[in-house]
Symmetry: C2
Subunit: 551 residues, 2 copies
């Protein structure tokens, strides 16, 4: 998977290492287009360096933690702490750029082994310290914000020293990987065995194996490789009451699948330290191709039919008319005018870009799979160049966002999923909610994960930032979109719950669902040190948990 | 799926309706072979009618239940109660045939709607009555035995009046089905929409939709259609603390997948009343074909390779040498001697039968899929007749078992699953344990479910029954097999935990796993009325549950 990607072996968590500082400027034609479409003014909003508050971690706790991981791996310097002050949501970035206060951990603790993680949790329980597991720090839902709940202090538990490929079973196509492994390094280590995970979300360059599991991640090739939870065959979880290991068979009827309770637990039930993954032979050939379909309804019917025939491309990505227009407007490299003329000549009124990608062991296999996918399909091929252009730019979203933020744009994404019969209604409802909340703005949408019964919807929003209350501006829009989603789809297809979606979880899983999650948390984390305020809202996630009878 | 199958629209739960009484006699050549191989004597052990003890259900509880479901649907007659006295394990059947005491419910309660199920549970909590959810009654692990735990009485909650197809969404390929629907009726109702579930376990003729979900069932075509849990998109669960609904999206990252906590909960967390299932277009063409492979290692490597290339046949079933020998010895209809001669002439020393089956929309699609599966595969085709013979007999196992029991045979099956690198070790370990425990016996094994990372192993055992202690004889053998499985594979691939596997669950999911399950049970079933002694061992499943701190 990773041979076309810059391999990030070590994640730089200093402030300098964040994407924010690596963004290039926005090209003039893009800026002009943005101003026309959103009413954006001639502003520059460079980042101001945030300031870390005094660390609240007591000396006794600090010493005890140092005894577990080594004193050099308990860091209280401002740069280390600010580098783990939240994730990469628009609001997180605003806070890190000087709008509002980031939630800064009191220390960063870097254990070197699963055993050390268990010991760190024991120390944190003893010293009343909240623990935020931290891998790539790419959460966009507030999942790694250093909230302390009702604890005396909060530490970021940075897992990046847990970066080993523990075991490979080539016969069973299984690999055991430590949680802190960055995805590109995991792929490099597996490539030496001819294997791949095949999990490539947009966060790929910085994200970790443990983070994928903790958040039920879905990669861009999910139609071919499955979601991350489909790959997890075993987990090793450190909890305040001891270590819990699950796995050992490809499938089981030995009661409920408890792995699926750990996958998606977002650090609230324990710290994932190792994951056993189903892996595959690395593909020899990858082919990406661009197509155009006339109209959203036709496009979504097309990808639905292919998914239901069970011959989807590994990568399947359909943009709506607005996203297609933006791609054409901003993507000067694609000989855009010629393309527009071509589409007009072919009578395409509402062009929707469709990118399909197939992996295989040989050109022949890829050609055969492509033919299967495209049998009877009405889509106009625009050739491999457009597919390759998508592939080369597919991790650039966050970098583009940083450039946009520099010039005063409110820019964020959100996502959901629903069954096919509700896909168009859900897309319309979210669009309407966002436009109502933000006024003059651009709302783009694409389907990038297809299933037999439904699909994901991924929205990107661009508006002129409200300089007076940039955080409030987005929170109103996000709330409106979340309300629109509730009842029609899931509050998250692959971004997880974090702090931002926690208020909407009850509508999705019911009061009993929250009670069940709370009971599991009470069992594994009786004093509530683990990631307070994430997944479960604060009143449930904290210590002094209400018992089911109290509601 | 069901057009080749006798359609069971209503499950007859009277004693007369059980398979036991519909079995034909064993053919003479089979009996002769059995006597040679197992030392079976010239005995006949006809069933003696069991006697139902007095019902312990109090008048107040009976009246209250009658007010919910109608007085005619609270049945205390011996025939109704004996008809729900356990499932279809060898030990259950022995008890029903007069060896040992079956666990007979004090009454059979037949609600007509999901709402009535919730009300029944309220009444049972109020009157201290244990509840055993009962669908097809096909459990082979003691999952429906009427244990009362510490309750005053126990009722079988027969779900067979919940037999509606509630909703079909043909665009999303989703169907909502009530839990008591027998599988053949569910298929008939869906066939009217051109749809199928495609879930065909050996229990198909009698089993219900709710039972499939409660036990994480896997059907014979699991390689093509997935396991039952892969099809479940939503559940409606009646619990003593209210109703819980889950589902609404094809995939989600909104926290842990709680559906996978309900699927496999075996009636211990609640009563599944409705299931939303992913369905597929009914195949127009099905092709089954027999093959022979020389030796188990070669055969298992073959099915592994096909599974890892992701081109498995929908049905994939590899018998070991012993099972193949028995099939040839007992299957007079296949022109067995000619076949044996043919195999000898082809130099096949250790014949292992392989049955593959493909479904598709057309002959062409099936031919194409067959070619994909067989590309580069070294297996000798024996033609379609053998495949069709397997298909026609594929639900006959239980009937054959009844005939065997009549003539004094100890006959039972058990199953597990593990990763490919451990498949042969696990098969050897279980064989050895069974032979050690039973002495002169026949142990057969097949792989019938394949995954990228591993496979199931299904064992059938034949021995001369110990007339003095038939139940003890099997319990010793089962314990030896279960010990052999522990650490190498899962205690159940698709039969579930029930009462029989509960003692082995801790070794598989850990003490924390049991604690988590117990905490979920405490939340949903605080007084422990639901299916005592199943899934969780009695001390955890009953009321007065130990808290995690007590252990």
């Amino acid at each position: 998977m990773c041979h076309t990607v810059a391999v990030t072996e070590h994640i730089d968590h200093t402030l300098r290492g964040r994407w924010t500082t690596t963004a290039g400027p926005l090209p003039p034609h893009a800026l002009k287009w943005l101003r026309e479409r959103t009413g954006l003014g001639e502003v520059r909003t460079p980042a101001r360096a945030p300031v870390a508050p005094e660390s609240a971690l007591g000396d006794a706790a600090r010493t005890a933690l140092g005894e577990v991981v080594g004193p050099g791996y308990v860091r209280v310097d401002p740069d280390s702490r600010l580098g783990r002050a939240g994730g990469l949501s628009y609001v997180d970035l605003l806070r890190q750029r000087g709008d509002g206060e980031p939630a800064v951990p009191d220390a960063v603790v870097l254990p070197a082994s699963p055993e050390q993680v268990v010991e760190v949790l024991e120390v944190c329980v003893e010293h009343d310290v909240a623990v935020v597991p931290f891998g790539g720090g790419t959460s966009v839902v507030g999942g790694v914000n250093a909230l302390r709940g009702d604890k005396a202090a909060v530490v970021a538990l940075d897992l990046n020293r847990l970066d080993k490929l523990v075991e490979v079973d080539p016969v069973s196509r299984l690999a055991v990987l430590q949680a802190g492994l960055p995805a590109p390094k995991a792929e490099r280590l597996l490539a030496a065995h001819g294997l791949t995970i095949g999990h490539v979300p947009q966060s790929y360059e910085r994200a970790t194996i443990g983070g994928f599991a903790a958040t039920r991640s879905a990669g861009q090739a999910s139609a071919g490789y499955g979601r991350f939870e489909d790959m997890v065959e075993g987990v090793r979880l450190a909890t305040p009451v001891g270590e819990w290991r699950l796995g050992g068979a490809p499938a089981s009827a030995a009661g409920p699948d408890l792995k699926q309770l750990v996958v998606g637990s977002e650090g609230a039930f324990g710290v994932i330290t190792e994951v056993a993954l189903r892996v595959r032979r690395r593909p020899e050939v990858e082919r990406y191709e661009g197509f155009v379909v006339d109209g959203w309804e036709r496009g979504s019917a097309l990808v639905r039919e292919v998914a239901q025939r069970r011959v989807p491309a590994d990568v399947t990505r359909l943009s709506d008319v607005d996203e297609t227009e933006v791609s054409l407007a901003l993507g000067g490299g694609w000989k855009v005018n010629a393309l527009k003329g071509y589409l007009k000549a072919r009578g395409v009124r509402e062009p929707c870009l469709l990118v399909l990608g197939w992996h295989g062991a040989s050109k022949r296999e890829v050609a055969r799979r492509r033919a299967e996918t495209l049998r009877g399909v009405e889509a106009l091929s625009l050739g491999k160049a457009l597919g390759e252009a998508w592939r080369h730019g597919r991790f650039n979203g966050p970098r583009q966002r940083d450039a946009l933020m520099e010039v005063g744009v409110c820019v964020e994404t959100l996502e959901t999923a629903t069954h096919w019969s509700k896909v168009s209604d859900l897309r319309a409802a979210v669009r309407e909610a966002l436009v109502d909340a933000l006024g003059r703005c651009v709302v783009m949408c694409h389907i990038s994960h297809v299933y037999e019964t439904g699909a994901s919807l991924y929205f990107t929003v661009l508006a002129a930032r409200d300089a007076a209350d940039p955080i409030g501006q987005w929170q109103v829009a996000k709330a409106a979109a979340s309300e629109a989603i509730t009842g029609l789809g899931t509050i998250s297809h692959h971004h997880a719950v974090g702090a931002d979606h926690a208020p909407y979880l009850e509508a999705e899983i019911g009061r009993l669902g929250l009670d069940v999650l709370a009971s599991v948390k009470r069992t594994l984390d009786p004093t509530g040190v683990l990631n307070p305020g994430k997944l479960l809202a604060g009143d449930i996630g904290a210590a002094g948990l209400a018992s089911p009878g109290d509601r």
